[in-house]
């Protein structure tokens, strides 16, 4: 089990700027430690390294079973506010007979946090080109891309621009597909003035800026309000290391990924450029699988809509009973078997 902590000292020692670093009990080193603590629970070897994608950005990558290079590698992309360690319940099962790479998305987790363009289209392009740069650096010809939530949106955006690099596209509870309903304004006008005021005020900030503003109370609050996430990972560890990891992932400054997400979303729920409008642009050669938990708050009819649009190509929607939005952790076993089956059928 080798963790390339030493190789990455250069990146770790970049100082956190501003008075905020005194107020918030976090640092890159603490994040690295929190991640290591989670990955240590795995009883399989893994290695982590920074992959240079261009002259500015580095992507933190964890590799599992990388020697088995004959098979198409599976690349995992986490969702918003998460990091690659969220896949800890899936690493073992998915890497059984193929290499698995998990990456921290640009601007999230341990990857570079340079300022991204505050424009939906340009930010999306920056994310996509970063993924492609990563693929080139890793010398991967074709890959199976699996994205959850916001990662699913980015994976789809990647598929739109580089369809020839994808062997298969798997989206787990993807964000940003449906169009903004027209009655949203009407619904909102029914609410009292003060509620709208608070909502508008909250919208002015980055989605998770509250966690950072809380400073030393942040870890406690995260533990209090997202206790359910700890429960999801109870099979692997029974302490709050995942909560610690969430905190350090999201307390880092600058939160460039979050800012980019904000620019790409409309009121935090819908995408500025919804994918449902762009499905027909996806090359028909790319096979697409979608996985939803039945309890999720996402629109469960998306799979059907996509199926109706992409009539000539492979589209399949899987529903995992009893799972919520975090489908890969809620019902990890079912999720892993679905993914393994998809991957198996390709080769």
């Amino acid at each position: 089990m080798s963790e390339a902590l030493l190789d990455t000292n250069r990146s770790l020692e970049e100082p956190d700027r501003g008075w905020g670093s005194i107020w918030r009990p976090t640092s890159k080193r603490l994040l690295a430690k929190a991640e290591k603590k989670i990955l240590q629970a795995l009883d399989i070897p893994y290695s982590g390294e920074y992959v240079k994608v261009n002259d500015r950005d580095e992507i933190w990558t964890v590799k599992i079973n990388p020697t088995n290079s004959k098979k198409t590698p599976l690349v995992l992309m986490h969702g918003f506010g998460a990091g690659l360690a969220f896949w800890v319940l899936n690493f073992k099962a998915l890497s059984h007979n193929r290499p698995v790479y998990a990456i921290d998305t640009l601007g999230f987790g341990r990857s570079s946090r340079r300022t991204l363009p505050f424009d939906a289209e340009k930010a999306e392009e920056a994310f996509v080109e970063c993924i492609d740069g990563w693929r080139k650096s890793m010398k991967i010809d074709k890959m199976i891309l699996l994205g959850h939530s916001f990662g699913g949106y980015l994976a789809f955006a990647y598929g739109l621009r580089h369809p020839d690099k994808l062997k298969h596209l798997i989206l787990a509870d993807p964000w940003g597909f449906p169009n903004e309903p027209e009655e949203r304004d009407k619904l909102q006008r029914q609410l009292p003035f003060w509620v709208r005021g608070v909502a508008m005020l909250a919208m002015a900030f980055n989605p998770l800026s509250g966690i950072r503003a809380l400073g030393p109370f942040g870890p406690f609050v995260v533990r209090k309000i997202r206790g359910d996430i700890q429960y999801k990972f109870r099979d692997l560890f029974d302490d709050d290391r995942i909560m610690n990891y969430i905190y350090h992932c999201n307390a880092q400054q600058p939160a460039s990924g979050e800012t980019a997400f904000k620019s790409m979303s409309s009121f935090g729920a819908w995408a500025q450029q919804p994918m449902l409008d762009r499905i027909h642009l996806l090359d028909p050669i790319v096979p697409l699988d979608m996985i939803y938990g039945t309890k999720t708050w996402m629109d469960l009819t998306i799979g059907e809509k996509v199926f109706n649009i992409r009539k000539d190509s492979w589209v399949k929607t899987h529903f995992i009973k009893g799972a919520g939005h975090h489908v890969y952790a809620d019902k990890a076993e079912e999720f892993n078997s679905v993914i393994n089956k998809i991957c198996h059928d390709i080769n």
């Binding site: 949203r184 909102q188 009292p192 509620v195 909250a202 997202r226 729920a269 708050w297």
Partner: protein
């Protein structure tokens, strides 16, 4: 099918909507129900099959009476506990405890340790009502002194577990949009962020914020009516998507194979069903223990076990009967395989309508609020201004009146409540003291500083300056200081070696036993020093190194440290005074500081 309702205060009207949907479209489907706070009330009424119109009316009346006061539900004259007590006494049937025992799971929070307790057995109707009242007691909102249930004080179960699990797969109902099975869909801004408050998923949306703000401060009856309808629609949507809507023929039996618990088909499911039915009796105690997360606390509840044992025999018979019934069922008894049921699911969804009695109650309440001159004035802007302006004059009288009334009512319970309060106070004080005791840590710093200057004085002087200092206290004596001056005179000229030894040690102990208490420690040190100065023990062997001592794992022994230091000094003393040929001058300084923090 097992169902659990989230606690949500006045938003409980949503549960009424859900309950009426089940009552109309899928009666007999619910086997067990659980809940906290308003959810527990809803679950209980649902299991008892209480009149839906009556419940709706009660909830709306409570809400309107809470709204009619200037300070809303915080007004001193609004006694929510009394309202609930009266309502429950009237609504629940006399044998309610028999109906719900073993089927109703009420979530409670124990005051003493804030642990969650799930109660599912009730000996009498009053017992049941008391449990429900405890579960609905919001601290400081409902009152100051929490009510007691079977001699223990409990408050709102929503604080510790808002959605108590009834069994492995429980359908969750929550009026807040999130990841519950039955909950309003979210069409609002910023639904990407979610929080979990005592087991209930809540998305951070504007409408959820509004709902949260309205949980304890009820909105207009119109809004409540909307919520009721929303609950009905959401429940119907759930039943439809899960194919749980039976046709007229199967409504009475309510047997479904496609319940979330049982996904198998054919005979297998039948067999499993049988075992499912068996489970209630044998597992009742266990389930309650699972709910009761604090194993110690169970001893209190276990008083009821005697009664349970008596009841067990009766239940065994019941189960035997039920088992036979289940076993004799054919597959056509299950509505999953009935064509009519499948059609029914599709047709019903087209026309979702609340039961007439609920609609009547809702409309009546809305009308009542808006009708009459008094209400018109009351709801107008001028009325509001007048109300607010009159608060400072009316409030003292209202408070005095309601306090007197409550005090009179409270008088019989005064001794027990007072006793509870005093015992709680004593416990708290004891706790603080014990905390202080625990934190009393002893910090000792032991440091030894040894400067040695070895110098050579020309032979003709034939004089050996020897100054030995064993500790700092002696150093301060005047004659020694003079001696030091004599010694340092020639030393300044012929320095050969300059050696500095220094070692210091910090150790902390949080649990000092009797022998390590500060005075004892100080006494020992002084004793040790006395012994050392009287009988210098000379040891010519290798001086023990500090490293050895630390590695041996004995560093926490204060005595040992002193002993080692003493040995070291003795050895040095021996070396320089008896063996060495050169003039030696050593200055030893050792100090022990003990701080009590």
């Amino acid at each position: 099918m097992n169902i659990t309702f989230a606690g949500c205060g006045f938003l409980g009207i949503y549960h009424v909507g859900v309950g009426s949907c089940f009552a109309v479209h899928a009666p007999n489907l619910i086997q067990k129900a659980g809940g906290a706070s308003a959810g527990a009330l809803a679950a209980c009424c649902m299991l008892c099959g209480s009149d839906l119109g009556k419940i709706t009316e009660d909830v709306l009346n409570t809400a309107t009476s809470a709204r009619s006061r200037t300070l809303g539900p915080l007004s001193p004259r609004f006694d929510i506990n009394q309202v609930l007590l009266d309502g429950l006494k009237e609504t629940l049937p006399e044998d309610a405890h028999k109906i719900v025992s073993g089927r109703l799971f009420v979530s409670l929070t124990r005051v003493s340790d804030r642990q969650n307790i799930v109660v599912s057995k009730f000996t009498s109707k009053d017992d049941l009502i008391q449990a429900l009242l405890c579960s609905a007691f919001v601290p400081f909102y409902s009152g100051i002194v929490p009510p007691s249930f079977r001699g223990t004080r409990y408050v709102d179960g929503g604080i510790s577990d808002n959605l108590p699990k009834v069994s492995g797969d429980t359908v969750t109902v929550s009026p807040f949009s999130g990841e519950s099975d039955i909950c309003p869909p979210s069409e609002e801004i910023s639904r990407y962020l979610q929080i979990t408050l005592s087991n209930t998923h809540i998305q951070l949306t504007a409408s959820n914020l509004y709902r949260l703000s309205r949980a304890l401060f009820p909105p207009d009856p119109k809004v409540l009516a909307q919520m009721c309808k929303q609950g009905f629609n959401d429940a119907l949507a759930y039943l439809r998507t899960n194919n749980l809507l039976p046709c007229e023929k199967h409504k009475k039996t309510g047997r479904s194979k496609s319940l979330p618990v049982l996904a198998e088909t054919g005979r297998e499911s039948l067999a499993k069903r049988t075992s499912e039915v068996q489970r209630p009796t044998f597992n009742l105690e266990e389930e309650e223990e699972v709910g009761d997360r604090d194993p110690e606390g169970y001893s209190e509840v276990s008083e009821e076990e005697e009664i349970d044992l008596m009841e067990d025999e009766v239940r065994m018979e019941e189960v035997e009967q039920m088992k036979e019934v289940w076993q004799t069922w054919e597959s056509e008894d299950f509505f999953d395989e009935c064509e009519d049921c499948k059609k029914g699911s599709e047709c019903l969804a087209l026309d979702p309508a609340l039961p007439p009695q609920v609609v009547d109650a809702l409309q009546a309440s809305c009308r009542k609020v808006n009708s009459g001159l008094a209400n018109f004035l009351y709801n107008s802007r001028i009325g509001h201004v007048l109300q607010i302006a009159s608060v400072p004059y009316v409030l003292p009288f209202e408070t005095a009146y309601s306090l007197t009334r409550r005090f009179v009512k409270w008088l019989p319970y005064l001794p027990t409540n007072f006793q509870w309060f005093i015992s709680g106070l004593i416990k708290a004080v004891e706790h603080i003291f014990s905390q202080m005791e625990d934190n009393k840590a002893f910090k000792a710093r032991f440091s030894c500083h040894l400067d040695m200057t070895e110098d050579y004085v020309s032979d003709f002087a034939k004089h050996w300056f020897r100054v030995t200092r064993l500790d700092a206290i002696e150093n301060r004596r005047k004659n020694d200081v003079e001696a030091l001056d004599i010694a340092s005179g020639p030393a300044a000229t012929n320095v050969r070696h300059n050696l500095n030894f220094e070692f210091s040690m910090d150790f902390e102990t949080s649990c000092p036993d009797g022998s390590n208490s500060t005075p004892e420690l100080l006494r020992r040190i002084s004793e040790d020093q006395g012994v050392r100065s009287r009988v210098p023990r000379i040891k010519a062997g290798a001086t023990p190194t500090v490293d050895d001592e630390i590695n041996s794992g004995m560093q926490d022994s204060f005595d040992y440290t002193i002993k080692v230091a003493q040995e070291m000094e003795d050895a040095l003393y021996f070396h320089y005074l008896q063996v060495s040929q050169s003039v030696s001058y050593d200055q030893g300084q050792s100090s022990v500081e003990i701080h009590e923090i």
